[in-house]
C-alpha cells in the first residue's frame, strides 16, 4: 500500500465518521442529562429526508438544513414529551421514533416526489459542496504526483464540505460547554442526581428539555450531512444503522466528548475499510470478510459493555423519569 492509498482511506474515514460524530455528541448531551436516546437513528433519518426535500424544492441547502433540524427537533420534542413530561419508558419512545421516521420519510417522499421513496438528486447550491483550501490540488492525478505533505493537505485536510469542519469544531465546544460552564455542570448533575439539582432550585424538566433539544439540533445536522453533503439526495433508510453505531461509540467513549471523537473515527475507519477490501488483503496478507468488518463496531461494543476492556458506567440517573415527590 502506498502513501496515497493511506491518505485516501483516511479521507474516507473523515467523511464517514462525521455523521457518527455528530450523532454521538447528540446522544452525549441527552444521556448526560439522564435521558436515554435510542432514537438517534430516526432523528437523523428524518433530518436527512427533510433537508434534501426542502433543499430540492427551494434550491437552497441552508433552508434545507434548517428544515432538517426542525424535523429532528420535532422528534426530540416527542421524545421529551414521552420521557420527561409523561415519564414514559425512554427506550420504548426511542423505538417508536425510529419507526416513525423510517415510515414517514418514505410516505412523504412518495407523496411529494413519486420517485419510490427518494428525493430528486441534488446539485449545485442544493448541496454542501467541498471547500478547497487555497493552493490545494483538486484532481486525483495531480495529488498523486505531489509530495506527501501536499497530499495530506490537498486530499485529507482540504476538500471537505463545511459541515465536516463544523462537526470537528463541535467537539471542543461540547467539552467547553459541559466542563467549563454552569449550564454544563447542571446538565451533568441532572443525569447523575436530579434530586440534588432540584433542591438547588434549578428546573430538572427545563434542563432535560434543553439537553434533548441540543440532541435534536445535532442529529439534524448529522442527517443533513448525510443527504446533502455525503450523498446527493435522500434514499430510503439511508441512515443505515449509523444512529446505533453512534450509540455504540458513545459507550465506547464512556460519555466523554474527546473520546467520542476518537471512537467515531475508529468506527469511521472500519466503514472506510469495508469499502476497500483490496487494501486490507494487501496489508495483512489474508482475506477478511466484509461482513466481519461491518459488524466489528457492534462486536466491539458488546465486548466493551461486557467490561472486558475497561468498564463503561452510564450516567447514574439515566433512563429514569424524575418524580419530584415520593
Amino acid at each position: 500500500m502506498d502513501f496515497f492509498t493511506l491518505i485516501q482511506i483516511l479521507d474516507a474515514t473523515v467523511r464517514l465518521a462525521i455523521p457518527l460524530l455528530l450523532a454521538c455528541l447528540a446522544g452525549l448531551f441527552s444521556e448526560r442529562a439522564g435521558i436515554f436516546d435510542i432514537g438517534l437513528e430516526g432523528k437523523m433519518l428524518a433530518a436527512a429526508f427533510f433537508s434534501a426535500a426542502i433543499a430540492s424544492m427551494t434550491g437552497s441547502v441552508w433552508i434545507g438544513l434548517l428544515a432538517g433540524i426542525a424535523a429532528s427537533l420535532f422528534l426530540s420534542g416527542v421524545h421529551g414529551l414521552a420521557s420527561i413530561t409523561f415519564r414514559g419508558n425512554q427506550l420504548i419512545s426511542g423505538v417508536a421514533i425510529n419507526f416513525l421516521a423510517a415510515g414517514m420519510t418514505v410516505l412523504i417522499a412518495q407523496s411529494w416526489f413519486s420517485q419510490g421513496g427518494r428525493t430528486p438528486s441534488l446539485s449545485g447550491a442544493e448541496r454542501f459542496n467541498p471547500i478547497n483550501f487555497p493552493g490545494a490540488l483538486t484532481t486525483t492525478n495531480e495529488v498523486k504526483a505531489a509530495s506527501p505533505l501536499m497530499q495530506v493537505y490537498s486530499e485529507l485536510l482540504s476538500g471537505h464540505s463545511l459541515l465536516v469542519y463544523v462537526a470537528l469544531l463541535t467537539v471542543p465546544m461540547t467539552w467547553w460547554l459541559l466542563y467549563r460552564t454552569r449550564f454544563g455542570l447542571r446538565l451533568r448533575a441532572v443525569g447523575e442526581n436530579p434530586a440534588a439539582v432540584d433542591t438547588a432550585g434549578v428546573s430538572v424538566v427545563g434542563l432535560r428539555y434543553a439537553a434533548v433539544a441540543i440532541c435534536g439540533i445535532l442529529c439534524g445536522i448529522a442527517g443533513a450531512y448525510l443527504s446533502t453533503a455525503l450523498q446527493a439526495g435522500f434514499v430510503k433508510d439511508m441512515s443505515a444503522g449509523r444512529g446505533f453505531i453512534a450509540l455504540a461509540a458513545l459507550i465506547f467513549a464512556k460519555w466523554r466528548p474527546w473520546q467520542a471523537l476518537y471512537a467515531t473515527f475508529l468506527f469511521g475507519l472500519f466503514q472506510a475499510l469495508e469499502l476497500r477490501p483490496d487494501v486490507i488483503e494487501a496489508v495483512i496478507g489474508m482475506k477478511v470478510q466484509g461482513q466481519f468488518l461491518g459488524a466489528l463496531p457492534y462486536i466491539m461494543t458488546v465486548v466493551i459493555l461486557a467490561g472486558f476492556v475497561g468498564k463503561a458506567i452510564p450516567p447514574r440517573a439515566g433512563g429514569e423519569p424524575y418524580v419530584k415527590e415520593r
Binding site: 414529551l81 409523561f86 423510517a102 412518495q110 407523496s111 455504540a248 458488546v302 452510564p314
Partner: protein, 364 residues
C-alpha cells in the same frame, strides 16, 4: 388502592391509545392526499374479504404471535428484548440447517426438529446478552440491538459464503426437500369440508403459535417459575429477598424469549419461503414490540394484537398494490401504536385516573 377499576385498566386504556394511533394514522393518510375511509375499506376487503386475504393475515399474525410472546415474556421480568429480529434470523438459520442436513421421513418430524433447532438458535442468541446483563451488568437493550446487527452479518456471511448452492447467484439456501413441506390451512381444512384458499401461505405453524400462547399463559400464571419471573419484574429487591436469583431469572426469561422469537422461523422460512433468504424476518421481530405492548404482555392480548397487526400488514400490502400509498404506512401505524400504548401510556392514563377519582367522589 387502585384508582381505576380493572376493566378500565385492561380494556379502556389500550383502546383509547389505539384510537389515538388510528386517528393520527387517518390524518397521515389524509395529509398525503388519500381518503382514509376508502383506504380502510380497501384494507378490510383485501385482508378479511376472502379466504386468500385471511390466509395472508393469519400467516403474518403467526409471525407476530411468536415475536409478541417473546417480547412479553421478557417484559414480565422487566427486560426489554429488542433483539427479537436477530433471534428470529438465527432461528431461520436453525430451520434451514434442520431441513437441509437431516433427511426427515415426514413433515411432522421435520417440524419438531425445526422447532427444536430454531428455538435453540434463537435461545443462544438471546442467552449471550442475558448473561452479559446478569453477570456483567451490560445494558440488555444495547446488547440486543448490537446482536441484531451481528445476526444480520452472520446470516449474510452464511448465505453468501456457506449455504448458497454452487452456481446460484442470489444469497439464499437451496430449496428444502419436498418431505418437509408443511401443510397449509387449505390442506388442514379440506378434510373437514371447509374450502380455504390454496395460494395463501398460512400453515400449520399457526396452530403451533396458538399452542405457544397457551403454554406461555400456563408458564407465567400457573407455574412457580412464572411467579418468580413476575415477582422479579415487579421488584428486584423483593424478589432477591424472597430467595429468587436475579441471574437465574434473567437467563431463563431471555432464553425462553429468544427461543420463541427463533421459532417464528418455522412459519416464514419453513412454511412460506421453503428456503432461507436474506431479510426473511421482514421486521417481524420489531413488530413483536408493538404487539406485546398492545396486548399488555398477556398471551390472549398478544393473540388479538397479532391478528390485528396481521390484518394491518396484509391490508397495507393491498393498499400498496391498488393505491399510491406505500407499504411504509404500516411502519408508521406500528410506530404510533408503540408510541401511544408504550411511551405515552401516562398521557392517556393520567386524565382517565382523574375522571375516575372525580366519579368516585361524587358517588360517596
Amino acid at each position: 388502592m387502585d384508582v381505576m377499576p380493572k376493566w378500565a385498566e385492561v380494556v379502556l386504556v389500550p383502546l383509547i391509545s389505539l384510537l389515538l394511533a388510528a386517528i393520527l394514522s387517518g390524518l397521515v393518510i389524509l395529509a398525503i392526499g388519500e381518503d382514509p375511509i376508502a383506504a380502510l375499506k380497501l384494507m378490510i376487503d383485501g385482508a378479511l374479504g376472502s379466504t386468500y386475504g385471511w390466509g395472508y393475515t393469519l400467516y403474518y399474525a403467526t409471525n407476530f404471535m411468536f415475536t409478541g410472546l417473546a417480547v412479553s415474556v421478557a417484559f414480565h421480568a422487566r427486560l426489554f428484548n429488542i433483539g427479537g429480529e436477530g433471534q428470529a434470523m438465527l432461528g431461520g438459520l436453525g430451520v434451514a440447517l434442520a431441513c437441509l442436513i437431516i433427511p426427515w421421513p415426514h413433515w411432522s418430524l421435520g417440524l419438531l426438529g425445526a422447532i427444536v433447532l430454531a428455538g435453540a438458535f434463537g435461545a443462544v442468541w438471546a442467552a449471550v446478552p442475558a448473561y452479559l446483563q446478569a453477570k456483567r451488568g451490560s445494558h440488555i437493550v444495547i446488547t440486543t440491538i448490537m446482536f441484531n446487527f451481528i445476526a444480520a452479518a452472520v446470516l449474510n456471511y452464511m448465505l453468501v459464503n456457506v449455504l448458497r448452492p454452487k452456481g446460484a447467484m442470489d444469497p439464499a439456501t437451496a430449496r428444502f426437500p419436498e418431505a418437509v413441506h408443511l401443510p397449509s390451512l387449505h390442506d388442514i381444512l379440506a378434510p373437514i369440508g371447509i374450502s380455504f384458499s390454496k395460494a395463501a401461505p398460512a400453515n400449520v405453524s399457526l396452530l403451533v403459535a396458538i399452542i405457544a400462547c397457551v403454554l406461555v399463559w400456563l408458564l407465567i400464571w400457573r407455574t412457580k417459575l412464572g411467579y418468580e419471573i413476575r415477582a422479579y419484574g415487579h421488584s428486584e429487591s423483593a424478589a432477591k429477598y424472597a430467595g429468587i436469583s436475579p441471574v437465574k431469572i434473567t437467563m431463563i426469561a431471555m432464553i425462553i424469549s429468544g427461543a420463541l422469537a427463533g421459532m417464528m422461523a418455522i412459519n416464514n422460512v419453513m412454511g412460506e419461503a421453503e428456503r432461507l433468504v436474506l431479510n426473511a424476518t421482514e421486521g417481524a421481530g420489531f413488530i413483536g414490540i408493538a404487539v406485546a405492548l398492545m396486548g399488555r404482555s398477556h398471551p390472549l392480548g398478544v393473540f388479538i394484537a397479532a391478528i390485528l397487526f396481521g390484518f394491518l400488514y396484509q391490508g397495507g400490502a393491498e393498499l400498496a398494490l391498488w393505491t399510491s400509498i406505500p407499504r411504509e404506512l404500516i411502519v408508521v401505524i406500528q410506530a404510533l401504536v408503540i408510541l401511544f400504548t408504550g411511551a405515552l401510556d401516562n398521557m392517556v392514563r393520567m386524565p382517565l385516573e382523574r375522571i375516575f377519582l372525580a366519579l368516585r367522589k361524587e358517588g360517596n
